[in-house]
Symmetry: C2
Subunit: 404 residues, 2 copies
Amino acid sequence: MQADLKSSKNSPLPMKFSPLVDRITGEGSDAWQIHYAARAAQERGENVILLSVGDPDLDTPIEVTEQAIAKLRAGDTHYTPASGRDTLRSAIAALHYSRSGQRVGVDNVIFLAGAQNALFTASLCLAGPGDEVIALEPLYPSYPAMLEVSGAHMVRVASSAARGFRLELADLEAAITTRTRAIFFATPNNPSGVVFSEADMLGIAQLAVRHSLWVVCDEVYAGLAPQGRVPSIAATLPEQVVTVSSLSKSHAMPGWRAGWMVGPKSLIAHAEALAMCMLFGLPGFVQEAAITALQVAPAAESRIREYCAKRRNLLIATLKDLPKLRFNAPDAGMFILIDVSATGLSGQNFARQLFAAEGVAVLDGGAFGASTQDFVRVCFATDETSLREACTRIRRFVNSLGTA
Amino acid sequence: MQADLKSSKNSPLPMKFSPLVDRITGEGSDAWQIHYAARAAQERGENVILLSVGDPDLDTPIEVTEQAIAKLRAGDTHYTPASGRDTLRSAIAALHYSRSGQRVGVDNVIFLAGAQNALFTASLCLAGPGDEVIALEPLYPSYPAMLEVSGAHMVRVASSAARGFRLELADLEAAITTRTRAIFFATPNNPSGVVFSEADMLGIAQLAVRHSLWVVCDEVYAGLAPQGRVPSIAATLPEQVVTVSSLSKSHAMPGWRAGWMVGPKSLIAHAEALAMCMLFGLPGFVQEAAITALQVAPAAESRIREYCAKRRNLLIATLKDLPKLRFNAPDAGMFILIDVSATGLSGQNFARQLFAAEGVAVLDGGAFGASTQDFVRVCFATDETSLREACTRIRRFVNSLGTA
């Protein structure tokens, strides 16, 4: 036995992992290198500005934080139900109704550890090996791993830059095969800021009915759209539409990991079984804080909308006269996609050179798909002084470039 | 189009789910019905006593709660790294070293949403369709779903009641095939309270080396074992052993969802990729509280050990003269398995009748596997008054039964 053990210690065996690990290696992860470098530089005290992530300098509403504190002090630190407390599920159901017009009960709602966790849960419950799942591009870099973790194949349907990244229904329809099980997309979109119109959504609904597809709507930025809502087909197709959202963006609560899924009861029952062996419940004090957040939702959301609108307008006003930068104003959200092709640089090289020259971190659009590789994504949801300074630096950088 | 949509609304399509949903339907879930019924009765104000779950009436240490509160007030509510903060990973590495003697760095550690989430992560990274994973019985009811979610087949190896649920290495060896990829087990065991000896662990190590197997040790109750540690082979086989634990039991923090996995760097890198698309980070204020918990670990753990030892001794002293109840004192933990076969009842019927007659909720041993179906699991980690009263009621119930 000692010989056995020694040989293992000295020359590690080629231990095998599951095939799943090869499907989650994060295609978009290179894009974050500039962000990580910038954050490290910032921690060293260097004069850098991060416009690379959607995490504004806003505090969680004080009522929400104080509710968590009260519950912590009251000992709300024991196990909770796997689907979340019914009081919270009921509050989520009410918000969902106000956004979508779909009346749902607690059995249509599960509370999960953020929208990412809810999308992951939907992915595992809706498709598997041999299936295809369509994802509309541009898409968030965690989508490929999150969708293929189930064993399904992710099929990208790209919106074109020339048409402002609006839905092109014919392209979506052409991508549907007999293996297609679901369509995943974000509205408002990250990074493009596009909100799908009523007509877009009805077109998707029609395809979903014709081909028996699940439609998973990532509405994590819905609270930042005008009136805090986006066109939804959840009420039209209650047995096929899954709505995912969270408090992260609308309530300045990204670190709380408070998200959810709304869908047919059958799906929620499966999601609960998965949540039981994946999470075994989530903190009670976070759930109680989330209930408070939902109670103050209108005020919290309009605070963030005003915050974003002001900064979006500032950025657009400051950069719009630079002929080498082209962009459309986003419908909603914290981001703007800027076409940098007139500078002669790819999105990746623009981001690298801008950071090297001026210490401003933006994200390579290529992280969101091939259709955005000539773009950079700029987050304008930061303090106004930093944003103004960043715009000055971006102007100086662009003006320093020769003609393409 | 309207016709399409209407037909869907009136007669829902037979929407398909992934094959995964059939693998997570919780075999042990019936066992919880008595617990849920008891909790509901308690909420209605009825005079019931719950000895059915391991969630003692203890508050999280005050320093821990106050640290979370300080961090909440300081705005630590933004995104965090997917693997957890390095300061926390480092503190976990130190605890792991003190328990196992294995020196590890931050790259060997990932912070996850509780031990359940860490076991789920290990399951997905280590095995897949066509593989077998051995689980040692008795086992926690969430194991089957958690292990089979990966697509692997779970093979149960039961310890025998006659031998006090100690490891029987020959049975384990006989269950290993060329498809076996991993062995999962809990030490201290829930529900039996058995701690595997040094010899047991070395026997497992030998099999792991010979057959290139992963060994996943669920040490969630390790802090409740004598000296807060159990025999470990992590230092012996650092490339094959995965250690999972949490603060839930040792620090009275079940609702915080603070757990981790320690293992080879290659595994932790895969786990991080999975955590990125499954969770996208965990609350910073929970992580900072967890660091505080790890700093006060010796005091917190000895508080819980004394709490459990006192109640275990009370229960044993009160029930030991009842000839129809047979049990071994557990090595560690919050539970005792009681053989009720001399009453003529199965564990399930004993639990049902005891609850109906006396309002005391215990768990059917069958929830943990066939080898414990003549047993009930009793949690003694509750307030002393309730425990004394529960013992009185159990005595009365047992004495009311005829001779088997």
